[in-house]
Symmetry: C2
Subunit: 192 residues, 2 copies
């Protein structure tokens, strides 16, 4: 996806310890037009794979929300973000799975109200990064708890060095990423 | 804004203590098409007020992100969300202001990297709720710290009973809300 790759080459930086900083266009500051293009790209790629009708886009707060919302807007379906923090409005029953924050290192409980995922749903998981795969695995487990079916997983940036695909879980749905990044000599490297 | 008001009448519920639950379309689960309509509505209303060119949309994570991203997409400008949590990627210098969470009650530091707001910027603040006004006031102070000018403030839902407009600060920019809500007998009431 050229617009994304160009932006990465121009603005991504390497912070060490496997952390790639993309806060000028993907998180913290978000390029709203690029998000629209990312949403269209995910919709087209999953359609080309024949995943069929999808009824929900699922992500985890915070930085998954922009690409997930853009994708849901293109597909014309609701976007659900798993919550990481307690809230006065998060009451009743929820699906829950634990992950570990890649950038903070702490354990986090992801929760989704049981009203928002049901057995008849077909769910597309969208997130900003495929790194360790632990957050995606938690989202997959939440989909499994709900009885919904998984249509696919799409991530904006994959870091293959962290081998996250091994941790996502035993799924048959396709896993896509729009850019695969590594690092060398303290520089971000676009892998393909 | 009819689509929003209809959705509120159908799906909003009152939790007591001034908390209105809108987690089936505005936060947690987000109606992506409604967000697009909200973005267009904010863009049109601020244009009708003659606010002129805007270079950034500013909000606070988490629930401000969907309406802010939708508005930035319509305007074709970046969206910046103030961060509430420490992050390995939030380094260097930032503007900072304290607020108090309306739904959790705790003090929260909002931070925006100094790279993303500059004196030549003209900033539109967008958030989901205008309740106590404390988060909007923190965002206004961040704009002031940066030297940027404030073009306007737009909120999806205003709760006039909490008199938040008094707390936003001394500003001359227009403050808009798309729906004004109260409560009576444990029911959400649309005020106008």
């Amino acid at each position: 996806m050229n617009a994304l790759i160009e932006r990465i080459r121009r603005d991504a930086s390497y912070l060490g310890n496997g952390i790639i900083k993309v806060d000028s266009f993907l998180n913290h500051q978000v390029d709203a037009l690029l998000m629209g293009a990312i949403g269209r790209e995910f919709a087209q790629r999953f359609e080309a794979l024949g995943v069929g009708a999808v009824s929900r886009v699922l992500t985890a707060e915070v930085s998954g929300i922009p690409p997930a919302l853009a994708t849901a807007g293109v597909l014309g379906i609701p976007m659900v973000y798993a919550r990481k923090h307690e809230s006065a409005t998060l009451s009743g029953d929820y699906f829950q799975a634990e992950t570990v924050s890649r950038t903070r290192g702490n354990r986090v409980q992801l929760r989704v109200d049981t009203r928002f995922l049901a057995p008849l749903d077909r769910v597309l998981i969208i997130d900003d990064f495929l790194a360790t795969g632990l957050t995606l695995n938690a989202l997959v487990r939440i989909v499994q708890q709900s009885g919904a079916s998984l249509a696919g997983i799409g991530c904006v940036i994959e870091k293959p060095a962290e081998q996250g695909r091994r941790n996502i879980g035993e799924i048959t749905a396709p896993v896509l990423s729009l850019a695969r990044l590594g690092w060398d000599n303290e520089q971000v490297v676009v892998l393909d």
